[in-house]
């Protein structure tokens, strides 16, 4: 067709002759140069392009770039400002073709944004953010946008990264949308995650070997770790029974009940003599790991449906080999397809090896351990195990902010018994004592025999010291009364106890143990039945227990009395009401102030009974005054937090006032501010119920709690009582004065009556009058006095009080 190209020297005259010819026919020139020349010069020497070169140059920059784009594996499309696809690259076209996308909806001319907007179902998870991202870039709100999304098919896990970048950075009138297949990167990331999961399981199981001392726990923990730390969907351990050869499910985690039952019956049906048909049997007989990375499509799998239901896709069966024999298998299930690859499997084989090692270790240690940790005579823990357990209890007490108590005990007269009845009888007695402990005073895990007649116990959680003492008292009593039968004879035996309480007496097992021992020593030396390590505690605890009993008796015997402290109106000087204050008239020590026994009442729950009594007594006094024709005043009764929280409290109040229609007008309930704030909703409804009965309500100790003003306005109350501490500060500093002034103004703004408590000086009185306080209560006017005295002094009409009685008023 044409001459071969002739590179080489070209004499000038030849060329000029050639040019003459070629100017006539450009095409001919191309033929002659074999297409190897781009330009020739014209007569003026100016070069002009030959047609081929012209064609070539005409290819626009965009065309060249599109060639480059076509070569890229990423799917790329150019969108205009409205989101219409104006150009796509070859990869984009191929992708939409092979994936049969709806209406070949990714072709040029289509509006990509509308396609995204119209997506529904799971496709909209990506499509909607994609549309938003494109709009943001088009609108110039974002410099670019990227999103990674999964696009899995039934056979493949695929991931894409979509990026949106503007066509022109300064005026985004179009964007480039690119979808890049990042499946390989994702897969690599996943491998790292998978490996880490396996490492986590492995290290957890390594620590098990040290911690765990029985097979059951080992299996349970190993499965739990695989699911917890390893992120496996399920884990189970199947063990071949050495005697029957039957495979049994030893432990599992993440396995639901239905599957567990299915597994059990499957194992039961397996023939011990013909292991080898199932994958599990194959793993055990061949002592080789079996991996199925496609559970849902693998025909060899027995439980396809259960796996589908449980969401597992891969399984590894790892034989457990102890002393050369496969004794069972650890089976791990992953929710991901294709989870178990060579690297994972190497680690998992190591993991199964660790479990096997631990099993072997436990087998050998079990007998030794028993001797090392248990008292053979009684079966209780020995000192070593007790200290280990104690350390654990201390740890959990510390983390949960609890306190615990450690007891060391010696039996009384045990040596005598041993000497007179013989060691066999002595041993029998120790066994029975141990039995009594575990049956009557908490589980076997809480007790230990340390040697001879020396026992220890732990109370893992105690609420308060009274708790410990009460428990001790009642248990010691019961123990002492228990008849132990030795042969024909029956004997009773006592015990001495030393107690150490965390954290006061120690924050670690050893210290607590040592201090309990010291307490026991001094209990024996002093002849006490029990002693706390901290002597104050013994005294306080003992005192409390005694006090509690006395208070119970006091209530029964009617030793509680109500005293009344008058409240006086600051402008009229009239006694307007009285606060009932409880006193205990102890026949031994005389009047006991409430601060010494109210806390014990609350601790023991006696407060409910005593509170009921106070309400009834106040009511009775009031009605008696009425009956006597006196000008009666309302009686304010204090309500303890525990009482108000009790849902039956409203009914109790109702009962107290139910007998007489005059009653409601005679009763006010004083409730501390902090108490109301504790449960605002319940408080409001309780207070409303109380006022609906015709009673009034006062907020006690106002200013010491944390009332928010918005709540205060909502509370259905009548009176605000300013705490004595504010009254005291009032004369000390301008700030104190300002505070009381504010409280009074606030109360008045809320239409509440204000009573100042603890007024004991003329200065205070003067100031309160200036500030417009309504009433006062305090030593300045009168202390709380017995009912009869109150009646005589303040209720014998007329009620007006002589000025001399309260100075400047």
């Amino acid at each position: 067709m044409m001459k071969p190209p002739v590179p080489g020297e070209m004499p000038t005259d030849e060329v000029s002759a050639l040019i003459e010819t070629l100017h006539a026919t450009g095409l001919r020139l191309e033929e002659l140069t074999g297409g190897q020349v781009d330009t020739v010069a014209n007569r003026e020497g100016a070069p002009f392009l030959l047609r081929r070169a012209q064609d070539h140059l005409r290819m626009s920059e965009a065309a060249k770039q599109s060639a480059i784009l076509n070569a890229l594996p990423a799917h790329i499309a150019l969108l205009d400002a409205q989101g219409r696809i104006i150009a796509v690259n070859a990869a984009w076209r191929r992708f939409s073709d092979t994936n049969g996308l709806p209406g070949s909806g990714y072709g040029v001319g289509l509006n990509y944004l509308l396609v995204c907007d119209a997506a529904h179902g799971s496709a909209s998870d990506e499509a909607l953010p994609v549309a938003a991202g494109i709009r943001s870039v088009l609108g110039g709100l974002l410099p670019s946008y990227a999103l990674e999304y999964p696009c899995h098919s039934t056979t493949e896990q695929r991931w894409f990264q979509m990026t949106v970048t503007p066509l022109f950075e300064d005026h985004p009138n179009g964007v480039v949308v690119m979808h890049m297949d990042i499946s390989a990167r994702k897969a690599a990331e996943e491998r790292v995650v998978y490996l880490n999961r396996v490492y986590a399981t492995l290290s957890g199981i390594n620590s098990l070997i040290v911690r765990v001392h029985d097979r059951g726990t080992l299996f349970e923990e190993a499965c739990r770790l695989a699911v917890g730390a390893g992120g496996f969907r399920m884990a189970l351990i199947a063990i071949a029974d050495p005697t029957t050869g039957k495979v049994v499910l030893a432990a599992s985690s993440g396995v639901d009940e239905a599957f567990r039952i299915a597994l059990r019956s499957h194992f039961l049906a397996m023939d011990a003599d013909q292991l080898g048909s199932t994958l599990l049997e194959r793993a055990i007989t061949h002592k080789k790991a079996v991996v199925v990375n496609d559970l849902l499509v693998n025909a060899e799998v027995v439980f396809g449906q259960q796996y589908a239901d449980s969401g597992v896709s891969s399984m590894a069966i790892l034989p457990l080999i102890v002393a050369g024999n496969a004794v069972g298998a650890l089976v791990l299930y992953a929710s991901e397809r294709d989870f178990f690859r060579d690297e994972e499997l190497t680690l998992l084989t190591e993991l199964a090896g660790d479990v096997s090692f631990a099993m072997d270790h436990i087998d050998k240690q079990e007998r030794i351990d028993y001797l090392a940790y248990y008292d053979v005579l009684t079966g209780l823990a020995n000192q070593r195990l007790f200290l280990e357990r104690l350390a654990q209890y201390v740890r959990s007490a510390t983390t949960e902010g609890n306190r615990l108590a450690v007891f060391l005990m010696d039996l009384e007269r045990f040596k005598n018994i041993n000497d007179s009845l013989g060691q066999v009888a002595g041993d029998e007695l120790l066994r029975q004592v141990a039995q009594w402990f575990t049956r009557n005073a908490g589980g076997a895990n809480l007790f230990a025999r340390l040697g001879a007649d020396h026992f220890a116990a732990v109370m893992p959680v105690i609420r308060d010291d009274g708790d410990v003492a009460r428990a001790l008292e009642s248990k010691l009593e019961a123990f002492q009364e228990h008849p132990f039968g030795l042969g024909d004879s029956v004997l009773r035996i006592g015990a001495k106890v030393g107690v150490a309480v965390s954290p006061d007496d120690g924050t670690d097992a050893d210290t607590l143990f040592k201090n309990a021992e010291a307490a026991l020593k001094s209990a024996k030396a002093h002849g006490d039945r029990y002693l706390f390590f901290t002597p104050v505690m013994t005294a306080a605890v003992a005192g409390k227990v005694v006090l509690e009993n006395q208070l119970r008796l006091a209530l029964e015997r009617g030793e509680f009395v109500l005293h009344y402290q008058p409240k006086v109106n600051l402008s009229s000087g009239m006694v307007t009401s009285a606060e009932a204050l409880i006193r205990w008239n102890d026949p031994l020590t005389g009047l006991v102030p409430p601060s010494q026994f109210i806390p014990v009442l609350e601790e023991t729950g006696l407060i409910h009974a005593v509170g009921r009594w106070a309400l009834r007594q106040a009511m009775a006094d009031y009605l008696r005054w009425c009956a006597n024709g006196l000008a009666v005043v309302r009686i304010a009764v204090n309500v303890s937090p525990l009482q108000l929280r009790n849902r039956g409290f409203i009914a109790e109040v109702q009962q107290a006032i139910g007998g007489d229609p005059r009653s409601p007008a005679g009763l006010e309930l004083e409730i501390t501010e902090s108490l109301i704030m504790e449960d605002v909703r319940h408080s409001i409804s309780s207070l409303q119920a109380i006022r609906a009965m015709g009673l009034t309500v006062a907020i006690d100790d106002f200013g010491t709690g944390f009332s928010s003003l918005s709540y205060l306005a909502k509370f259905p109350v009548d009176t605000l009582k300013i705490d004595r501490s504010f009254v005291l500060d009032m004369t000390e500093s301008p700030q104190g004065l300002a505070l009381v002034s504010t409280i009074i103004n606030l109360a008045h703004a809320l239409k509440l009556k204000v009573v100042a408590e603890g007024v004991d000086s003329d200065d205070q009185l003067r100031l309160l009058r200036v500030l417009g306080c309504d009433e006062m209560q305090g030593y300045l006017f009168s202390e709380a006095v017995p009912s009869a005295e109150f009646e005589a002094r303040y209720l014998s009409a007329p009620i007006t009080v002589q000025p001399s009685q309260y100075g400047a008023l």
Binding site: P5, G8, M10, T33, D38, P47, A53
Partner: protein, 96 residues
Amino acid sequence: MSRSVIFKFRLYVADDALNSAQAKANLMALCRTHLAGRYEVDLVDVFKEPKRALMDGIFMTPTLIRIEPSPVRRIVGTLSQSDVVLRALDVDSDPP
């Protein structure tokens, strides 16, 4: 030819028209392979410097001129047949 001789070339091209671009690529490859460290290439775009082309008597692109060593040689074309080109330029075809 002595190793120390420096080859000086001037290549006349028409922007990045196909043949010019090929000639440029072929020349650079040839120089790197056979004249490593002892060549200089002066690139002239006839669209940008038409006068110079005219003065040098260049009527077609791509044209390669060997300025040194003398004598001056010229080759028109894409320089893709390297054996022929090497011979025309007196460059040893043996690999260095």
